[in-house]
Symmetry: C2
Subunit: 343 residues, 2 copies
Amino acid sequence: MGSSKHIGSSTIRFASAPVFLSWANCGGKMEAQGPLSRYFDLLEEDSFWGEQTWEQAESTMQIRAMELALKKANLKRGDISLAFGGDLLNQCTGTSFAMRHWGMPYFGAYTACATMAESLILAAMSIDGGYADHTAAIASSHYCTAERQYRTPMPYGNQRTPTAQWTATACGCCILGGAGSGPRITHAVPGRITDPGLTDPNSMGAAMAPAAYETISAYFRDTGEGPKDFDLILTGDLGRFGSDILRELFDRDNIDMSKNYFDCGELLYNIPKQDMHCGGSGAGCSAAVLAGYLLDNLTSGKWRRILFAPTGALLSTTSVFQGESIPGIAHALVIEADKEVSA
Amino acid sequence: MGSSKHIGSSTIRFASAPVFLSWANCGGKMEAQGPLSRYFDLLEEDSFWGEQTWEQAESTMQIRAMELALKKANLKRGDISLAFGGDLLNQCTGTSFAMRHWGMPYFGAYTACATMAESLILAAMSIDGGYADHTAAIASSHYCTAERQYRTPMPYGNQRTPTAQWTATACGCCILGGAGSGPRITHAVPGRITDPGLTDPNSMGAAMAPAAYETISAYFRDTGEGPKDFDLILTGDLGRFGSDILRELFDRDNIDMSKNYFDCGELLYNIPKQDMHCGGSGAGCSAAVLAGYLLDNLTSGKWRRILFAPTGALLSTTSVFQGESIPGIAHALVIEADKEVSA
């Protein structure tokens, strides 16, 4: 049963290669000042997005991104048989309140900043397996909701350490289908938790790098492929420090990641001109970079094939206070520019 | 594509009817004093489960339940291609830290107390679609971790209102496969958020009852079935007050739920002898009732076919403080006693 859908120990092959029918993203002020600003559908200076609270603003970003993605795909809310999504807020309320607006069948996903990858893999599985005709995957984060939940209230003007990252105020939404034209998901690797024993919540790139290494290595092992088989390899939000660690981990295996490996958290901002220290993070970071810069350029013909591997740090303020180390995880997807993929 | 896997607007049909290969559950002191105590694999008086914190105790419950379920199925951790699970802790750390122990490919699920249903549906989809040979679904809650996170620190001895429920200290774990004998999942209904506009976090049964009504009604509409087609219909944790509301909602449609509909939150405790007010709640409540009482009796021959519909209240303390109402959700599964189901 299903053996053709497995490769090696960890890789799933989607025979039908589900299609990205549309995608849309939103960003805030800092994202507007970053190098990817022209790849955003909506950029908003007001951190409240016209709402009363930042939490409502995060849900509003999700609602706007979904609205745009549906419009681009020429679909209505009722056409989405299953929506997968998540965020970093306690009890994932950023997504719940957006999904309340849409009333779509909804499964909440949580693997921290790797949530967009989990959502996309499940959305692709639902299409490829024949359980849904159209699915949506969405993830968001908001600097102000994350800062006060994980660190200190915003008015304190918390000082950040050199290894700290900046939670992106961003959201990405993708709509998948079984037929049509657009970039396609051909493979996926659901990640396993890897915990290097680090306890500093201001150095999450270092905590997540081994997980990214495990997931990407598993794909290389399972398929016999390597960096040369991709135009781009991307992690979610290891930032500058974490991505250096990842390059070093692959160096030990004589795998050269220096040419075409980048991190979404580094791409999103002008570092060091923008004061984001090690770069962006947050569930919205890799989601928004995918649902704009990456999918746009897979469509324009700039790239043919990418490995997209968002990373998550599965900590909470409680786990940190209790002295626990930070479990890392990374899920990966292979995305190819449009062409007929043989089933 | 896949039309045979859809019925009506909301129901998924699993052609292969994935099998429950094994299940195991854990409970605490109150669960040991309840009427289902003999259906628990492990009951522990110590609320810390030998750990330093209640949060660690919750992860330990998950580790113990998974360990037992693997053993009963005669499987090793490496045999599980995908694990789905979640809990109520901020950032779902109860599950993350348990999954760190196991190192299985892991997707975090969050739809509050409906998390076991979401996990099971995704686990069944992964088997039925051919993406995995064995999957695990797990969910937990702990009275002490929930009480201090959602309400007040434990030593305050918080007084509860008459409509309040008691977060179960419990965990359920199920292992699914594509072949073998055991109860089978034949259908699933992923739920949509329904929000009746209620704002009292001490009356969550009322907030969730309309969602349970929507999901169960959708199944009845899609299939033409009704209460008479089931030995039992179960909601997750509407409690006494919420389940009365659900019966009334169905009464308006002339659907009689008075004979075989029950709520897992009511079944778990001796009410009112045990002082649980409206009954049990928590992601572990329906998970533990399923992974013991329900699956045991589907195996013993007592019942042939049940509709299992856990319910979730998608609030957070922040959303409540900000005056938001409580979005409810319910996901449903049809589970049949072992027999060959035609594909």
